[in-house]
């Protein structure tokens, strides 16, 4: 597998000032996906934004990993509901003014 678009976890630890065990914990809770290539651990660059969100929730709001999972699931549901609401609003326009 190509390491293109993957970021080495070792480089992220000093970047965010967090221990490698934090990444392992996130992975064990199914919150991030760690790719292991030739015994080196990576995460995909598209997951960085979500990772940062998790770091903030954990270190700044003291939300534990189970809580982060719940928060992210609820936010995902909220996003889906917003999209559905938007779609329904657009569809409603079909019947307006009839």
């Amino acid at each position: 597998m190509s390491v293109q678009n993957l970021i080495l976890i070792e480089t992220l630890c000093p970047h965010y000032e967090i221990e490698i065990s934090f990444f392992e914990d996130l992975s064990n809770h199914g919150l991030i996906t760690i790719e292991t290539i030739e015994e080196r651990q990576f995460i995909h660059q598209d997951d960085i934004s979500e990772l940062e969100k998790m770091i903030r929730l954990y270190f700044e709001l003291n939300v534990n990993l189970e809580g982060i999972d719940i928060v992210l699931n609820l936010l995902q549901k909220e996003k889906e509901m917003k999209e559905e609401l938007n779609m329904l609003r657009n569809r409603l326009k079909l019947y307006e003014g009839e």
Binding site: E52, R56, L57, F59, K79, R91, K93
Partner: protein, 294 residues
Amino acid sequence: MAFIDYYKVLGIAKTATENEIKKAYRKLARKYHPDVNPGNKDAEKKFKEINEANEVLSNPENRKKYDKYGKDWEHAEEFEKAQQQRKSQSQQYYTEQDGFNDQEFSDYFESMFGGGGSRRGGSVKYKGQDFHASLTLNLKDIYESQQQVLTVNGNKIRLTIPAGVENGQEIKIKGKGGPGMNGGPSGDLFIKFNIENNTQFKRDKANLYAAVDLDLYTSILGGDITVNTFDGKVKLKVKPGTQNETKVKLKGKGFPVYKKEGQFGDLYITYNIKTPTNLTEKEIELFTEIQKLR
């Protein structure tokens, strides 16, 4: 510059202990943190306020100064020099997050305390703030993909708007947000599309809907009519005995399917049969004759 009651912001008494301040801040921060309120400007504003209140009240020195000069902050000028020195030493505060920058303290705070403190170490690298913008287009504009140049925060961004984008849809342009903090990557730019529709067509995703008037005689006897589609006129055969509100599907004559080049939805035509009015005597006579035949 209005006085800000930081105790009120955190919902605590002036006698609150450090622990009570911490507890109140954490509770409110969890409620209003931008990560749990994406796109909510009110929550963002509230979060800034509670952050600022916490920054002052959780620091015994700042709290002392605030309690002493809070309402008469202008008299705190003697502190300014000392604070300026501290300001130059302080590190960049907190993170830049979705849609806002936490460095934006109120003027009141800046005048009292200078720059902010630091939280999880000033050298932490974070992605820059995400920018949110909206773009209003006409339905006709998005029938074909088009290039636009947008100016966001003084930077020109060349943007390809794919045909068939939805009203209210948001697209992300990677790396075009605010610069990262301490060498972190840039944030993203989110553009929300407002699609105005002043055409005769109504739209549901890639399908279009239109009503077409049909005269009584064509509806009874059948015939050829010409109808407007989004990209021109088409000839349509009307079957004899067509009923009012009959729907006809014109396959592939709808709107482009988003990000599927060459694919189009369908156009649904609904016939509105127009009954003739102001009949002449002769017409009434003929209709009566037909009625008798039925």
